[in-house]
Symmetry: C2
Subunit: 386 residues, 2 copies
């Protein structure tokens, strides 16, 4: 019924636009060629507004986790104290990586499904007394719960209360939400390619504030592939990467810049807010409880905690009947929630698609049919905002 | 808001699946190479069930109109009598072509928006008395009005009442509707690539019944590029085409065969009926009058004759606000109707998309908002039929 079409609504990987696929199929070029230097400089500088940085964005050929690891190993040394905000499984992963490298990790545990408020962070820092915190690690958008943390307010607390670097995992929101590294007091911001940036997996990105860049430069050499200083030095000296990069993905990243500029960065941000609001309005209309509050809601992923029907059953039915892939819960939330990604190459019609499929799926599971009901609410949000 | 996405709902051209684009990007091969012989034999024979023929389907590199012209020039000579059923602008075009080649054309005019019934055809043949009709030309699916003519019943009349060949323009439905050339008494059936066959424009196809093939073979040589006998001979002798073909489009046609076989030909037919029923149920719910009756309704295109709002205004608003392209009316129906194509690479979600956009557009034009209403009806049709 749906031919070869499959509908990817996971919070990463996300669908790849044809334009970007076409760019990735361009003729291969050597990464020590002048053509590559032109390419990487173009991408590194055009991504600056997306990362809210004044410095070229460094591109690593590796996964999102490696980007987190790079953020750790380029700032933290054995015995250093690190404060990690843990409000979901990705915060947990950050803490694990830091522990792995011998840091004393102080976990600020936040209930999964809620954001970390500046008051929580301030109180936790107060509790730590005069512990010399080298870095505070936070998750911008907690993919596992669909929570967007208030990065600006948290950055203010870090700056006011500590001398620590503020290092942010932006994996599932950079490319969809506004950020200003200097103003938000974010020193290192990392993400990966397969989320809001509309690329296949394979690239990690790292951006720096003035202070973050200085910290990277001053960090003693004791790492190799993830040595961010090498990336900065090689970029500055020869406009290339220290190791062989995934050239075709970087060609694709150039098309990402084209697409973001064509839409307009402000419009990209607005679109994600609208996709969030449409999704939540529709889900609410179907009587499905949302995991997060309005204030905490992520513009890129919505978590739903159904009652009466098991979340994995809904997930399976959407896959089987409509070729729609959504995500389930992770760790503590496994089996309890499903998550709808609406980031990157996602339009209002895509949201209507998943809502319509949910309407039909709930009816299949015996609920009184609410055909068109969620779509109606989402359309109302759309017409009010456009 | 919709990024680089555009939504093509014209009754041709239609969207191209990625699989088919990928096939068309395969390395080029010479059309006199053994590889090409393998390719064209594969396509010509695998298309047989789609055209309901026992003979390989001939492939011309030309437009849909040229396929109609080929059907004329390979059967009609100056001074021959031809009966042409004219129930819309494409029937009219057939008649014009036949007249152009010096035929005495007897037009059976049917009100635009209605089908030609077997009774009408029988009465018209009776009126013509003992006029020696060489061929009866009919339009299977009248694209301009969204009418599917009852080809089997018309074929029965042609066979019972005349010795004429029955020549059918299948342009906007072959690949979406069942046909059996021997059983339906269709002798020549032509179509083009950019409709239900999911290809870009550029190819025309001609299929034959036993009797149609014999007529082609016996037709005296007096044409060149559109000489169907040359195509048949070259295919039989060397599995190639008489003239240089659009190789990449034929590579694409091979992927079309893959996709039709993967879905299952019977399922392709069912899907189009469902798309028709979903579209009509939604349109009806919005209070928009349908141009055609249930019995006459085409599985591939739906014509709507709005009241109170000008059809071109709806068409323009869908384009401007939602990047959705639908078609307007032609000739006598210009400015009075809009047409939604739902053929080829079209899924139930695509229908919901255009219905949702119509809901929002009608509200914009001042109608009381019916958000979700058409989608609801279409979903109900879907769940009842799947």
């Amino acid at each position: 019924m749906f031919l070869d079409q499959t509908y990817l609504f996971t919070p990463g990987p996300t669908p790849i636009p044809n334009k970007i696929n076409a760019a990735m199929a361009r003729p291969m070029i050597g990464h020590r060629s002048p053509d590559f230097s032109v390419l990487i400089e173009d991408v590194a500088t055009r991504l600056e507004p997306v990362f809210g940085t004044k410095h070229p964005v460094m591109i690593l050929t590796s996964s999102g986790t490696s980007a987190l690891e790079a953020a750790v190993v380029n700032t933290i040394h054995e015995g250093d104290h690190a404060l990690v905000i843990v409000a979901g499984s990705f915060g947990d992963r950050l803490a694990t990586i830091a522990e792995n490298y011998g840091a004393f990790v102080h976990r600020l545990n936040v209930e999964w499904g809620k954001s970390c408020t500046p008051e929580m962070l301030e109180a936790f820092i107060d509790e730590l007394g005069d512990t010399p915190i080298k870095a505070v690690f936070g998750t911008f958008n907690e993919t596992s719960t669909g929570v967007l943390n208030p990065i600006h307010a948290l950055g203010e607390v870090v700056k006011t209360k500590t001398d620590a670097l503020f290092i942010v995992d932006g994996v599932s929101c950079i490319g969809a939400v506004p950020v200003d590294m200097e103003n938000d007091h974010v020193d290192i911001l990392v993400t990966s390619s397969q989320k809001a940036l509309m690329l296949p997996p394979g690239l990690a990105f790292a951006a720096f504030s003035d202070r973050g860049l200085q910290a990277i430069r001053e960090c003693p050499e004791r790492r190799f592939y993830l040595d961010l200083k090498r990336y900065v030095d090689t970029y500055e000296k020869q406009k290339s990467t220290p190791f062989t990069p995934a050239v075709s993905l970087i060609q694709g990243a150039q098309a990402v810049c084209d697409m973001i500029e064509e839409e307009g960065w402000e419009n990209v941000i607005k679109r994600h807010l609208l996709l969030r609001d449409m999704t939540r309005a529709g889900i609410r209309e179907l009587g499905l409880p949302l995991l997060t509050s309005e204030e905490d809601a992520s513009p890129t992923v919505t978590a739903v905690k159904p009652e009466g029907i098991a979340a994995p059953d809904i997930q399976k039915a959407l896959k089987k009947d409509f070729a729609i892939t959504i995500a389930g819960g992770q760790k503590d939330l496994k089996g309890k929630i499903f998550r709808i990604g609406h980031m990157g190459y996602c339009t209002p019609f895509d949201v209507l698609k998943v809502l319509s499929a949910l309407e039909m799926t709930l009816a299949k599971f015996g609920q009184a049919p609410r055909f068109g009901a969620a779509v109606k609410k989402a359309e109302e949000v759309y017409v009010k905002n456009v």
